[in-house]
């Protein structure tokens, strides 16, 4: 097998990797934000439930959760490994993203919420127009870190047989007896994905920065 084809075989798994990330990360964000809002503003009982959810999710290795969620999902609804894996990673990430957003909300809230209520805004309006716009800006740096983790954790779906980067590296390493080259190629691709994503988020952070005098 020539080297070009070798590399191309692994690299073509990038589409699957990106696919998993593009499902898991936004799903985790949407649920993370909703859960964080429920945690902070939803009252004692719901808050405790979210706390429990987050503690459990973050206390179990992602690969174990992935298997559990996968077997729940594939057993009950006939989901493909790709979708089951992506959604599972999204659920796992939602717990981490909830913690990120919760911290940001708690550092913004208080005074800003009071000022919004003082001009007659409802709680929901205050969250929508005052709290979230500031929270999400604050959350970008830690969120960038979570994005890196999700990109790397997307490799876990290889265990479900999704032909993403790691899975392909494993297959071609077995068939060509070139494990070193195969895994180095995978490592380089993952690194580039993480690196580019973090740089893009740095840019976003700078662009959205609220102007102020030093």
């Amino acid at each position: 097998m020539d080297i070009g084809k070798f590399l191309q075989y692994i690299a073509s798994g990038t589409a699957y990797t990106l696919g998993v990330v593009c499902v898991a990360l936004p799903a985790g964000l949407i649920f993370g934000v909703i859960f964080a809002i429920i945690f902070v503003y939803g009252g004692k009982l719901l808050g405790r439930f979210m706390q429990f959810y987050s503690t459990v999710m973050r206390g179990i290795p992602p690969i174990v959760l992935l298997f559990i969620l996968y077997f729940i999902m594939s057993g009950n609804i006939n989901l493909s490994p790709f979708w089951a894996g992506s959604i599972s990673l999204g659920i796992i990430s939602s717990a981490y993203q909830m913690e990120i957003v919760r911290g940001a909300i708690q550092s913004v809230s208080g005074g800003q919420m009071m000022a919004a209520r003082a001009i007659g805004m409802s709680k929901m309006q205050a969250i929508r127009y005052i709290i979230l716009p500031q929270t999400l800006r604050l959350a970008i740096p830690p969120w960038s870190n979570e994005a890196a983790i999700v990109i790397k954790d997307s490799s876990l779906v290889y265990a479900l047989g999704v032909p993403e980067i790691l899975r392909r590296a494993q297959l071609i390493s077995a068939s060509t007896q070139q494990p070193f080259l195969a895994y180095i190629t995978a490592a380089v691709i993952y690194f580039l994905l993480v690196f580019i994503t973090n740089r893009l988020l740095d840019r976003l952070e700078n662009r959205l920065r609220i102007p102020s005098n030093p």
Binding site: M114, A115, R117, I119, G120, M121, Q125, Q134, I210, S212
Partner: protein, 254 residues
């Protein structure tokens, strides 16, 4: 006969066993400026927060324009539209420009259309002398300017009464004057105001009535002249002159 805008009757607030204030009663007539003074920790700020329902009182009643706002079926968001509040630490919305800060309530609460909201917001910024700072973010404004924007934001809702919670306490001495100037003009224009402050110069000049609070109750209230020169209690005289001396120095420096 002047109109009573705000009536507070036997208002009590506790946190657990700790009584913040107890049995506070207060009458505010239309156009009055009432200054509340007293040592820190006597519940002045909490009283203001109770009046616009940001904090729930434990007992007592409040009427705004003869409507009881402490009643169970009150729409609190509706009530707060009619009570403007200015905070010690400004609390401008940090991600919005001065103009957007003033405009937001008009758009989202009063549901004005874009052009009307913009025009009204600009007018309010002019009123506090900051139309040239309309597109600045709070982080680009001085403390005094931020507080004036906060006043404009509250005024934009056309409140029946304005509450000021130590509006100049967080400001450098040289910035206090511009905020007091705006408040003075506001009082002269007939706005009903309830002001918690240590600025005795402002109180003597502008207040119709000074209320002296200590340890959770009203010790004495009356016109500035009465309280400064003919107080019923020695404690009132002592506090007033001590504060005047302390803050008077700052005023002169400024």
């Amino acid at each position: 006969m002047t109109n009573t805008i705000l009536t507070v009757k036997n208002l009590t607030k506790k946190y657990g066993r700790n009584i913040v204030f107890e049995n506070i009663s207060l009458n505010v007539n239309e156009g009055d400026t009432i200054v509340i003074i007293g040592p820190s920790g006597t519940g002045k700020s909490t009283l203001l927060r109770c009046i616009n329902l940001l904090t729930k009182p434990d007992a007592g009643q409040i009427w705004l324009d003869e409507q009881e706002i402490t009643a169970k079926d009150t729409d609190e968001d509706q009530v707060r539209q009619h009570i403007g509040m200015v905070f010690q630490n400004f609390l401008l919305f940090n991600h919005l420009t001065a103009l957007e800060n003033v405009k937001l309530g008009l758009l989202r609460v009063k549901k004005l259309d874009k052009d009307a909201a913009e025009a009204k917001a600009m007018q309010e910024l002019e009123r506090v002398g900051l139309s040239d700072r309309a597109n600045h973010y709070p982080g680009q404004l001085s403390g005094g300017q931020q507080q004036r924007v906060a006043i404009a934001r509250a005024l934009a809702m056309d409140p029946r009464v304005m509450l000021f919670d130590e509006p100049t306490s967080a400001l450098d001495p040289e910035l206090i004057g511009e905020v007091l100037e705006v408040m003075r003009n506001l009082a002269l224009s007939g706005m009903t105001m309830l002001v918690v402050t240590h600025e005795m110069g402002f109180a003597r000049e502008v207040a119709d009535r000074i209320v002296f609070m200590e340890k959770g109750s009203i010790v004495e209230e009356g016109s500035p002249d009465e309280l400064f020169y003919r107080p019923k209690f020695e404690r009132t005289r002592e506090f007033l002159w001590k504060i005047t001396e302390l803050y008077g120095k700052k005023e002169k420096e400024a």
